[in-house]
Structure formats: structure tokens, C-alpha cells
């Protein structure tokens, strides 16, 4: 394989996605308003400990922003009949998957950085390890953008089908993560359930980088998230390749 052409195809697909699907007024406004509304919902009038719960809030922001648009790109392009043209260009399946993933990850990092910077200034949040926080942003964004790409893979040209599937999978992942109840207060089957959600490990990384109150060592969180990324990409590739064989 010619890696130069492959890299170029990823860069151009990422640029295409950013321009057509992400850098749209409504998408950016939604990306910024959503955290604000979630913040108001969680914190106003509940006397929650900001330092304890902010990592969970930040994790949820990143989760939703990085995985919100990605699931819609492929079904939308299939419906608009641009997908067939894209596949006939000098790209391979991996270029499309990674290009979609990178666009979602860039959007996730950008929005979450803005949210964090604003919150840090207004709420005087602690910051234990800036480098680890930056790594968490990147790793978390890639993980959940990869989830978005996986959700985009089923054979359909109807974005509303994918929206339904997306909600069906993403919402339980939020509920079983350690966002609402700190991991240290969980035990038994609750702990087991929580360990199934990749969001748990990102939130734990945020705890480590913001207030040093993590349950797992950071390297465990990092390894788990990296493994999840690889599994999501592999599954997306298998499903999308099967679609190419079936012609759908």
C-alpha cells in the first residue's frame, strides 16, 4: 500500500467531514449549548461537590460531542448518493473510517477544551496534571469518535435508524459509567457494570488529572481506552467491508 496516498486520503476525508458536517453554525452552537444545559441540569440547586463531579460532567461532554455527528455521516452520504463517489476516489475503507473518526475527535477536543477552559476560569477548578488532562482529551475524543464511526457502520441509508441505534447504545453507556456515583462508592455488580463502559476510564483519567482522586492507575485507563479504540475500529471495518461485499 502507498502510505502517502493513504495518509492524503485520510486528511482530505477529515477536511471534507469538518467542512460539510461539523463546521456548521447549528452543529457548533449545539456543541457549545449542550454542555451549558447539561451543567445547569446537573449542578444548579443541588449543592453537588463541583470538584468531585466535574470530571464526570467533562467526560459526558466529550462523550456526546465526539460521538454525536459521526454516526450520521455514512448513512447520510449513502442517502445523498455521495458515498459511492467517495468510495470510487483514491481511498480505501480504512481511510473513510479514520477520516470520519478524526473529524469527530477534532470536534470533541475543540468543544471540550472550550468548555473546560471556561469552566476552569469561572469555577476555579483544580488542575493536578495538565499533560495527563491533554492526553485524556485526545484519547477520550478518539475513543468516542471511534464509537460514532462504529455506529455509522450498519447497512442503512436512513440516518434516523442510526439515531435510534445511537441513543440505544450511548445512553446506557452513560448510565453504567461512574459519572453519577463515584467509583469508590460502588461495589459488586455495580462495579462490574461500571467497568463495562469506556466512559468510566475516561472519567477516572479526568479525576487523576484534575484532582488526583482516581480509582485506577492512569496507565490502566489509558490501556483500556486504547484497546477500546482498536476494537471499535476493527468492528467498524468488518461491518463496512461486509457492506461493500453485499453492495449496500
Amino acid at each position: 500500500m502507498d502510505w502517502r496516498i493513504f495518509t492524503r486520503s485520510i486528511v482530505v476525508i477529515t477536511e471534507k467531514n469538518m467542512r460539510i458536517y461539523y463546521f456548521k453554525g447549528p452543529v457548533v452552537v449545539f456543541g457549545l449549548l449542550f454542555p451549558l444545559i447539561m451543567f445547569l441540569t446537573f449542578f444548579i440547586g443541588r449543592n453537588l461537590d463541583l470538584v468531585l463531579f466535574f470530571p464526570g460532567f467533562l467526560g459526558m461532554m466529550l462523550f456526546f460531542t465526539a460521538s454525536s455527528v459521526g454516526p450520521l455521516i455514512t448513512p447520510w452520504e449513502k442517502r445523498e448518493k455521495t458515498y459511492e463517489r467517495l468510495v470510487s476516489l483514491p481511498v480505501i475503507l480504512e481511510s473513510i473510517i479514520i477520516g470520519d473518526l478524526l473529524a469527530g475527535a477534532i470536534f470533541g477536543v475543540a468543544i471540550t477544551t472550550i468548555v473546560f477552559a471556561t469552566s476552569a476560569v469561572l469555577l476555579h477548578l483544580p488542575l493536578m496534571n495538565a499533560g495527563l488532562l491533554a492526553l485524556s482529551f485526545v484519547l477520550g475524543s478518539i475513543t468516542f469518535a471511534a464509537l460514532g464511526t462504529l455506529l455509522a457502520s450498519p447497512a442503512t441509508d436512513n440516518p434516523s435508524n442510526i439515531m435510534m441505534l445511537s441513543s440505544l447504545i450511548r445512553l446506557p453507556l452513560v448510565f453504567v459509567s461512574g459519572i453519577f456515583i463515584p467509583l469508590s462508592q460502588l461495589g459488586g455488580w455495580e462495579w462490574f457494570l461500571t467497568s463495562l463502559s469506556p466512559l468510566t476510564y475516561l472519567v477516572d483519567l479526568f479525576h487523576a488529572s484534575l484532582n488526583g482522586d482516581a480509582v485506577y492507575p492512569p496507565w490502566v485507563d489509558i490501556l483500556v481506552l486504547m484497546a477500546v479504540i482498536l476494537v471499535f475500529i476493527w468492528c467498524a471495518k468488518v461491518i463496512q467491508k461486509r457492506n461493500l461485499v453485499k453492495g449496500i
Binding site: R8, I20, T82, V87, S88, V91, L244, G247
Partner: protein, 305 residues
């Protein structure tokens, strides 16, 4: 080396065999037509040739590069207009062309120059900065063609490029195909339009029920099915079928106010018609012979499917 080569391509969708052992070899420089009725397997074959669909069996090469083993290199050598494929409606005409050019690694200056040149050729210069979503079908198809030829591909593959277009857009598309061929591109196009295939293509393959059933130049295909030559005649009085039951006339059928008499020897048929007219005291109002058409050949080959 052939520009396009397919060897024993097969594709089934469940119990339906869409393409059954199709092999083609298209030498560099020509315009090759792929003709067939709906559902014959044209688009499925094109999709396998362009790497959009993975074949069940067989292989495809573009200028010697296997489309499925080295897709990136193979796709660099071709420009494709998919049957239903369109361009991004949220980008302008110019942005669509520039974006496509980036996939082919063209530098900024070449991209800009080529986009301007193609937009002018396709009559879209004035609309270059308009969003494609405001374009008519014909204009969208012209942008689709612009994207396919932006990198001056040595191989251009077009699936039904003129279907549903207005006369002006259709003419522009055909002119562009001819221009690209003069510039050195090998063209493979599928079409329902027999007249268009006849006028454009140096070689035609007719595909039916997933199999290639005939290949040759339009003239050769017409001659192969020479029995489709006919004489059209009309008399001053109604006549019956029995008038045409003679050796040399294969069949006769009413054709408006005339009879169409199919024969392998038009001269002999005309003589026969003149003699029966005299015998039965009929006056021949009009008589004309016709050479076989590609359409006739097509209908005979595909059984009128």
C-alpha cells in the same frame, strides 16, 4: 497493456446472479460502450471495476493495477461517474472540484487552474460559487463529470452519464467525453441509449442477464444480425400477411399504415413486392429499404428484454 481488463468477474446477491463470468479487455485509447437492458448487470460490473463492490470471484485491472489488491494506485488512474453518484450539495461547484482534486494529490495551483478550465468547458463558470443544492439535475451531472476529469485520468468510467439530462447538458457531456478521448483517455461508458452508443463508441459489449452476449464494433454487430434488414412498403389497399410468405422474407409485420418486411436480401424482396403489386393490381404508395440498426441487433441479442 489493456487500459481496463476484467477477468471472470462474478457477483451474486443472494439467489440472484447479477454478473456471471464477465471478462472484458479494453485497449488504450478507445471509447468502449457497455449496453444492456435494465438489470442486465452493467452497473454491478462497473462497481466491481471501480472498487466500489467486492466481486465474489474474478479480478479487475486498470492499466495493469489490480483494483482490489492495490485500490489506491488503481483508483488514481481512473475518473468515475457513478450511476447514482452525485456531488456534495452543501459545497459550491468549485469547492466540489477542488476537494476531488485534493484526493488525487494535485497541488494548489494545478487545482485552481484545472477547476477554472473545466468549469468553463462545462458552462458553469458563472455558477462556480453557488451551492450545488441550488443546481438542476443537468448541472449537478456536469459537476459530477468535472470531478471525474479534474485529474485528466487515463481511464474514464461513466455509468449512464446522460440519463435524464436535458439536451444542452447531454450535448456538453458527450462533447466532454469526446474531448477526453482525444486527449488520450480511454473511456468506458454504460448507456441505455443505443443511438448514443452507436455514435460514440468504437467497440460495444452487450450484456444480458449478467453475461456478455456480443462484443464488436457497432458496424460489426449490425452485420452479425443482418436478418434485421427490412423493406417498408405501403399499398393503396389493405393487404394480408399471405402476400409476404415467400422465400427470403423472414417475417412481416404491420408498421403504422405500412408493412415492415424483414429480409436477408432487400433487392429480391423489392422485386417480389413489385411483382405481387402488379399481379394483384395494387399500387405501391411508398417503398424504402433500411440498413440494420444497432437497436435491431440489440433487441435480437437481448431477446427484447
Amino acid at each position: 497493456m489493456n487500459a481496463i481488463e476484467a477477468n471472470n468477474l462474478c457477483k451474486s446477491f443472494g439467489p440472484v446472479t447479477a454478473v456471471d463470468d464477465v471478462s472484458i479487455a479494453i485497449p488504450e485509447g478507445g471509447i468502449f460502450g457497455f449496453l444492456g437492458p435494465n438489470g442486465a448487470g452493467k452497473t454491478t460490473t462497473i462497481r466491481m471495476l471501480t472498487g466500489v463492490l467486492i466481486p465474489d470471484a474474478g479480478s479487475a485491472q486498470i492499466l495493469g493495477t489490480d483494483v482490489h489488491k492495490d485500490p489506491l494506485t488503481a483508483k488514481l488512474k481512473m475518473g468515475v461517474i457513478p450511476e447514482s453518484g452525485t456531488v456534495y450539495s452543501d459545497l459550491t461547484a468549485r469547492q466540489n472540484i477542488l476537494l476531488t482534486a485534493k484526493f488525487y494529490g494535485m497541488d494548489r495551483t494545478s487545482r485552481e487552474e484545472r477547476a477554472g478550465e473545466i468549469l468553463a468547458r462545462l458552462g458553469l463558470t458563472e455558477r462556480r460559487n453557488d451551492l450545488v443544492r441550488t443546481f438542476s439535475k443537468g448541472m449537478r451531472q456536469r459537476i459530477s463529470i468535472a470531478c471525474a476529469i479534474v485529474h485528466s485520468p487515463p481511464v474514464l468510467i461513466l455509468d449512464e452519464p446522460t440519463t435524464g439530462l436535458d439536451v444542452y447538458s447531454r450535448r456538453l457531456v458527450i462533447d466532454t467525453v469526446r474531448h477526453m478521448n482525444r486527449e488520450g483517455s480511454t473511456i468506458l461508458l454504460t448507456t441505455h441509449n443505443i443511438e448514443e452508443a452507436n455514435a460514440l463508441c468504437s467497440t460495444i459489449s452487450i450484456i444480458n442477464k449478467g453475461k456478455i452476449v456480443a462484443t464488436g464494433s457497432p458496424e460489426k454487430l449490425k452485420k452479425t444480425f443482418d436478418t434485421s434488414r427490412y423493406v417498408e412498403v405501403s399499398f393503396d389497399k389493405p393487404v394480408g400477411h399471405e402476400l409476404f410468405v415467400v422465400p427470403g422474407i423472414t417475417r412481416a409485420e404491420p408498421w403504422g399504415d405500412k408493412w415492415r418486411v424483414y429480409t436477408d436480401d432487400p433487392d429480391r424482396a423489392v422485386k417480389h413486392l413489385a411483382s405481387v403489386a402488379e399481379r394483384d393490381q395494387l399500387t405501391i404508395v411508398s417503398i424504402a429499404t433500411s440498413n440494420p440498426t444497432l437497436e435491431e441487433a440489440f433487441v435480437q441479442i437481448t431477446g427484447g428484454d
